[in-house]
Symmetry: C2
Subunit: 374 residues, 2 copies
């Protein structure tokens, strides 16, 4: 039987409609999982369950003659939605003895995520803004956890104001993207349990599954444990580092990287090429790189200035980077192709197996970005 193009397309539409119904049924089932987990206090994200589920479907895909990568990509996207659906039903409260949690800056992007999650775990959460300090005595009274979640340039000042306001049993934590000074300051104003935290994600996440939160020990870690356990229940992965290890790594992860992105963007703006032409001529990989630069400038300049300027070490690294650029230019001006290749190989060695891994990861990501192109 020979169908026309329109007839086959009608069948495809019917099939896609069925696909949506199957997706919807999955999210309904996942809500039930959420309810059970919420009662039992089981973490949202269980790596082994995710792995085994994916493996089973990859195997089935192969049997069906379907690309296993297609099955995995679709399932992983569905799982993101599923973790969100588990959120909706709330979480078990792991420390019912805590009467109140105060999140200073809890109306901001990151602050509001934690406010919502603590509340949906049965805690009473009070959000403190900069206009609320005249009510500070009342707000902090009886708090079992206080989190400082304010812009980096205001962190020290806010911590200073806490002097004498917290009960000895209260856990004091902060979310600043540097750790040495904030932890030191918190230890100075508060004699009780202290812990530095750094949630490694932006305010746009849909749920906390697999998101990394860095934890830096301050004082009485055994009294801070319930906070970390609660976050693990939400799906987060807690990684413990010292303040120095954290700050050293952040010089590369934040300061250097933000600086190079910033100066690349500023340079492009000054050169002023026709952006429409650049976009039209873009390969997927360049489009992704331009996206990584352009997105910075949709964000808050103060945040980036303060991260880069937060310590002298950042500027030292950036200056060394600038020398490296000048050196590489000299190499190219001499037309020294051999030296270029030699340094390329040395850097490949530095990345080791990660270079190939990043190559295949980026291939798949570029394909996903390209999927969305109309």
């Amino acid at each position: 039987m020979n169908l026309t193009l329109d007839q086959v397309r009608t069948q495809i539409d019917e099939n896609d409609s069925e696909l949506l119904k199957v997706l919807r049924r999955r999210l309904e089932l996942v809500k039930q999982v959420g309810l059970i987990k919420s009662k039992e206090g089981t973490p949202v994200y269980v790596p082994e369950r995710e792995r085994s589920l994916i493996d089973k479907r990859r195997a089935q895909a192969s049997e069906l003659g379907l690309n296993p990568d297609l099955a995995e990509d679709v399932l992983r996207r569905v799982m993101r939605e599923s973790y969100g659906a588990e959120n909706d039903v709330g979480f078990k409260c792991l420390n019912e003895s805590v009467k109140k949690i105060v999140i200073i800056g809890g109306r901001g992007g990151i602050g509001s995520i934690f406010t919502r999650l603590f509340r949906s775990s049965g805690y009473t959460v009070e959000v403190m803004g900069h206009r609320d300090w005249d009510r500070a005595g009342e707000i902090f009274a009886g708090a079992g956890l206080v989190v400082v979640c304010v812009p980096i340039d205001r962190t020290e000042e806010v911590i200073g104001k806490l002097q004498g306001l917290l009960s000895p049993e209260c856990v004091l934590a902060d979310f600043t993207s540097i750790k040495t000074n904030p932890v030191k300051s918190m230890m100075a104003v508060h004699q009780g349990p202290v812990m530095g935290l750094h949630p490694m994600f932006g305010p746009d996440i849909s749920n906390m599954a697999k998101q990394v939160i860095i934890s830096v020990e301050g004082r009485y870690p055994e009294k801070c444990g319930w906070v970390l356990d609660q976050m693990t229940l939400w799906g987060a992965r807690i990684k413990k580092f010292s303040a120095a290890e954290h700050d050293d790594a952040m010089s590369y992860i934040q300061a250097l990287r933000h600086f190079t992105t910033f100066s690349y963007g500023v340079f492009l703006a000054k050169e002023n090429p026709d952006l429409d032409v650049l976009m039209e001529l873009s390969s997927p990989i360049y489009r992704m790189e331009l996206m990584m630069v352009g997105r910075l400038f949709a964000q808050d300049p103060v945040l980036y200035a303060d991260i880069i300027l937060s310590n002298k070490r950042n500027l030292d690294i950036i200056e060394r980077y600038s020398s490296e650029i000048s050196r590489a230019i000299e190499l190219l001006k001499k037309g020294d192709r051999e030296a270029f290749i030699e340094e390329f190989r040395m850097t490949k060695d530095f990345f080791g197996p990660l270079a190939d891994y990043f190559m295949s990861e980026s291939k798949s990501l570029i394909a996903k970005m390209h999927d969305a192109k109309v």
Copy 2:
């Protein structure tokens, strides 16, 4: 009725299994579309059809209480697979008068994609490697299209060898990532139709839907048209530019960007921070940036050296970029937060609406990268 966690999970597994069957049925239907299109000579990629299909499903998702973005993401991933399935059944041959196509370098990554696509469109394709030049007379005899698809540093040499080998009706084209010199050289050795092409994608694409190919006019464009039409049928988007426009844009798209990625990688290797720690502490956005750097070093150093060194203009831009870096450092050393913020705003203006667009595009892409994290 209260189900246990295991019971609900069994139902989820059954539902996921059903999901795969629905996906498989879709790809079977798509093969039928491919067969019809192949007979009729309809392009693989029809933007309007894609848009209307997505819109219909987004609307249905909303009705079902399902996140429309979930529906769109899943469908777009499925569509990528569908374009591939349409490939499998072959394409209509748009110029049956062409007896033979020769692809010089047709065994390379990009060359082999085009070899496969021309063959599956019913053309006789001969692949020419560097050992085949003693048979050149025989290989080029009767060719209706010759494509030079060799590394950038060998392009001129290979074009030179074509002198006197092509019939006047033969279309001569190249795939080099610069266009001014190759097009000039092709015009010099061949009196017939000449066209410069630049496929803007890597060898890892699964199909040609939506991929950009830049076309630069050489001689007798009306005799080159069938080649572009054939590529459009495969799903590619042809964009016409002059050689100068193309090469100017490529200084930014390729040379500057490759240079900054290269020097950033080399710098990191020389600083030698613990990569495992950097990875552990990475936010999704930094991980993506590190991925963009690391992937370069899994590739061919010679290619990047030759792209950067291909003209003097590239080095000029790179030197201006280096000056910009030095200037930005002076600004930071003075602690001039206001000036930093001012330049940030100026650059935001340069990106215009693209900054916000890139922000939301990258959010969705970062989420997809994060989905794959185990």
